[in-house]
Amino acid sequence: MEHYNMNLNLKVWRQKNKNDKGGFENYQVPGISSEMSFLEMFDVLNERLINEGKEPIAFDHDCREGICGSCSMHINGRAHGPWAGTTTCQLHMRAFKDGDTITVEPWRAGSFPVIKDLTVDRSAFDRIIEAGGFISVNTGNAVDANAIPIDKDKADAAFAAAACIGCGACVAACKNASAMLFVSAKVSQLALLPQGHPEKESRALNMVAQMDKEGFGSCTNTGACEAECPKQISLTNIARLNREFIAAGAVSK
């Protein structure tokens, strides 16, 4: 792969805190190597801002290997940028060319208020998990791990759903800021496994109720979440959530 350097024009959302109105600021960023990751490009810019006595740009990031779900940038209109199945930290500057203008915004959702610049508060996701994204089994209560065989296809499907990293790209990408893909991934994972069956009804009802309470929009099945999900969580999970929800609603008291 040929390496090259590029000069970029960055248009970044700056916002002091959640009460600030915020706005875009432009930065000329010269000499960016195609080998850098997108966040390393931000490191370079931040280093410069610090040296110039300015405030660096705040953004969430941690593992930088695409699994922790911290990073969360809306890049040129795309959650996590132009590469499919990729988090922002794994997006590399090869995706851009000299002279490009890149607009970077925070995840936009009423349920994800901006904390500062590109950092948003995604604690709504934690509260949704609290509402039922678990199996109630205290430590020490478990039977032998091989006591209940699980159909491999179902185990694989459960794993595919469980791969969700909770980054919120589905919400960011959805025109309705809906959290259905996130909720459905957890409901699906636990509904597919026999261990999750005893609580499957209350889980579906409670998690959806909490999702609504947090103010996320509703799903209009556009599929943007699936297209932007860095872990390529499938829309079939949303269908499964709907089935679980209907079944639970029909029999719950």
Partner: protein, 657 residues
């Protein structure tokens, strides 16, 4: 000599006897006891969930925006357990033995045995939580093998085992949050321990969003804050991984155990330039099928595919014919460094070796052609069939490699180089996981206890969860049973006041230096010193130099660092400044420890202590102990020793030839 409070009796009975005799706290009293848990990785989340279930009042803290993002999430390969589901001769004793031996006889036997005992419960617990481990067609759990073992005992969920285990523990934790047993403080960083009458009784934490300092009381404090590999700046750790909690505890009197024991993982994607912010691991499992080589000619300018077979040096196979490419991590790492230092490195930086799958493509291609009854397959066809098999096994890793490097590893061999991955050292703890400060505990990677001088693959996850789910619920109760009459101490206590003031003063100092260089500037410099002089190979002269250089760098840091922004806002640079300040002290202690340990063992390679053909040479006579360092003021440390006794595993020199 330090007393680790190891129960008497035979290794097999110690833990059972302990559980049978330890003191208990009745449910009504548990409700009155408050426990602070810092860190929500595998150890922290599992401890918080388990203690919450028991009825303790738990407060859990993490600096990330959610408990689910702790760096345990990034573990790829798997988790060991002595289930013997494969009927291949595994047992608690074998897992115990492999771990002690893999740790090059620098771990505590009793702890490791307990770890092996509870390993089986972990798998049961995780499956019950809905962790989707890989399964066979019959619906039962699948296993694979990892380095340093002869059995298949590793449970896994594709290349995302750590993620799945953490999400399991996280869901158990969130359940306790919803039940009101655990109060969760995300985006909070612990900045000091509060000690009252010699006991740990709380912490000072900073709300990272508002910048406000908070005081939290606890009858006990658990540090589950992970390792300190980021002292090297570049490592496979997350950007936020830090030593601050452990280091603050150390400064308050907790001994630091074996700080120089660092694991360098042989297969990481090499550094591509000065901009590099972190390194990415390529799973150990790749060494099952990939062959590692460098050109036989120095500074060979040719592309890898242009170098004919006879001009390639498969140096691991050459040096270690018995184990070949599957030698343990420390051995493989040193061998790569040796080749690169000798001038045979590849890639633009010359700090890399090839990990080549072309033989695997053709081998699997032949097998696949045979299976499908294709008898006249040409090379192209065989390659295609082989690629299919390799994709099935390692597809996600190949994809990640391609994203990061822009090269197609199916066509061009991967370039890899060793990188800092894990720290076996950590806060010294006794058998009960209590540090030398009463009431302060350390769990998971934050303690030093189970892996000796080298950790085996798939054992970190096992240890984190063992400590949190199955050890601390007993050992904490045993100690808190004596504390049931202690009422919650109000945080207006002078000790809280003083601690908060000191933390505030440090923050103010950072902001008032208004120097000329960024925090990262110092971090990178520290990392370079550590990597070059306290990295894969260490010697007396270098370590002594490093200590001086670190001291100077530290001075410069406190004079010239520039921390923008203010204290009362979300300020990531301020967070980093605090962490790097602690790394600048830890780095010195690591060098000091490495200097003191004039033997080679596991990940610690002293050039002065090697065999004639360049292998690590242990010195059991003089160094069969745990170094536990006590902080005595800036740059002053006192060494305490915990003697290691090996009753069941008699130390032998490791040999992989």
């Amino acid at each position: 000599m330090l007393n680790a409070k190891i129960p008497a009796g035979s290794l097999n009975d110690k833990w059972n006897d302990y559980k049978g005799h330890c003191k208990l706290v009745n449910p009504a009293n548990k409700r009155k006891l408050e426990v602070i848990i810092v860190g929500t990785g595998l150890a922290g989340a599992s401890a918080a969930a388990s203690l919450g279930e028991l009825g303790y009042k738990v407060k859990a803290f993490c600096f990330q925006d959610s408990a689910r993002r702790a760096h345990s999430i990034a573990a790829q390969g798997g988790i060991n357990a002595a289930k013997n589901y494969q009927n291949d001769g595994d047992s608690v004793f074998r897992l115990f033995y492999d771990t002690v031996k893999g740790g090059d006889y620098r771990a505590r036997e009793a702890n490791v045995h307990r770890l092996a005992e509870v390993s089986t419960n972990i798998i049961d617990q995780c499956v019950a939580q809905g962790v989707p481990f890989a399964r066979e067609y019959g619906g039962l759990l699948s296993n694979r093998s990892f380095g340093g073992t002869q059995v298949q005992r590793t449970f896994y969920a594709a290349g995302q085992t750590g993620q799945q285990l953490l999400l399991g523990a996280y869901s158990a934790l969130q359940r306790q949050v919803s039940l009101g047993n655990v109060e969760m403080f995300a985006r909070h960083e612990m900045l000091d321990i509060v000690k009252i009458d010699g006991k740990a009784r709380g912490i000072i934490a900073r709300d990272l969003v508002t910048g406000k300092l908070e005081r939290h009381f606890g009858h006990a404090v658990l540090l589950c804050t992970g390792g300190y590999g980021n002292v090297f700046y570049l490592s496979t750790n997350a950007m936020g991984s830090n030593v601050t909690a452990a280091w603050k505890a150390h400064r308050q009197g907790a001994y630091f155990g074996n700080p120089c024991f660092t694991q360098i993982h042989p297969t990481c994607i090499p550094v591509s330039g000065d901009h590099q912010s972190k390194l990415t691991l390529m799973s150990e499992s790749l060494r099952n099928d990939g062959r590692i080589w460098v050109p036989k000619k120095k500074d060979d300018p040719r592309k890898p595919n242009e170098i004919p077979e006879e001009e390639r040096d498969y140096y691991l196979e050459r040096r270690y014919p018995a184990f070949g490419n599957l030698v343990p991590r420390d051995v493989a790492s040193r061998a790569a460094k040796e080749r690169c230092d000798a001038g045979y490195g590849v890639g633009s930086s010359k700090q890399a070796v090839y990990l080549d799958f072309s033989e695997a493509f053709s081998r699997y291609g032949h097998i696949e052609a045979g299976k499908r009854g294709i008898h006249n397959a040409d090379a192209n066809m065989l390659y295609k069939l082989g690629v299919e098999v390799v994709t099935e096994k390692y597809g996600n890793l190949f994809e990640m490699y391609a994203k990061i490097t822009g090269e197609d590893p199916y066509v061009v061999p991967m370039r890899i180089y060793p990188a800092v991955h894990y720290t076996m050292g950590g806060l010294w703890v006794d058998y009960e996981l209590q540090t030398s400060i009463p009431g302060l505990y350390a769990l998971g990677e934050a303690n030093f206890s189970d892996h000796g001088a080298n950790r085996l693959g798939a054992s970190a996850l096992m240890q984190g969860l063992a400590d949190g789910y199955f050890v601390i619920p007993y050992t904490l109760g045993n100690n808190l049973a004596d504390d049931i009459s202690t009422k919650a101490i109000p945080t207006t206590h002078p000790a809280f006041e003083a601690a908060e003031k000191a933390v505030q003063a440090t923050i103010d100092t950072f902001l008032n230096i208004k120097g000329t260089k960024s925090v990262d500037h110092f971090h990178k410099k520290l990392g370079k010193i550590m990597w070059e002089k306290c990295g894969m190979a260490r010697n007396e002269a270098n370590l002594k130099e490093a200590i001086v250089e670190i001291q100077e760098l530290r001075k410069e840091f406190w004079k010239d660092v520039r921390v923008p922004g203010t204290a009362n806002e979300f300020n990531p640079e301020l967070e980093k400044a605090g962490r790097v300040a602690d790394f600048l002290e830890l780095g010195e202690l690591m060098c000091l420890d490495a200097l003191n340990r004039r033997e080679s063992c596991g990940g610690h390679f002293r050039e002065e202590s090697q065999t004639e053909d360049g292998e690590a040479k242990r010195d059991d006579e003089n160094f069969s102990y745990v170094s536990a360092w006590e902080y005595k003021g800036d740059g002053q440390y006192e060494l305490h020793k915990e003697a290691l006794e090996f009753v069941e595993c008699k130390p032998t020199q490791r040999n992989y030839k």
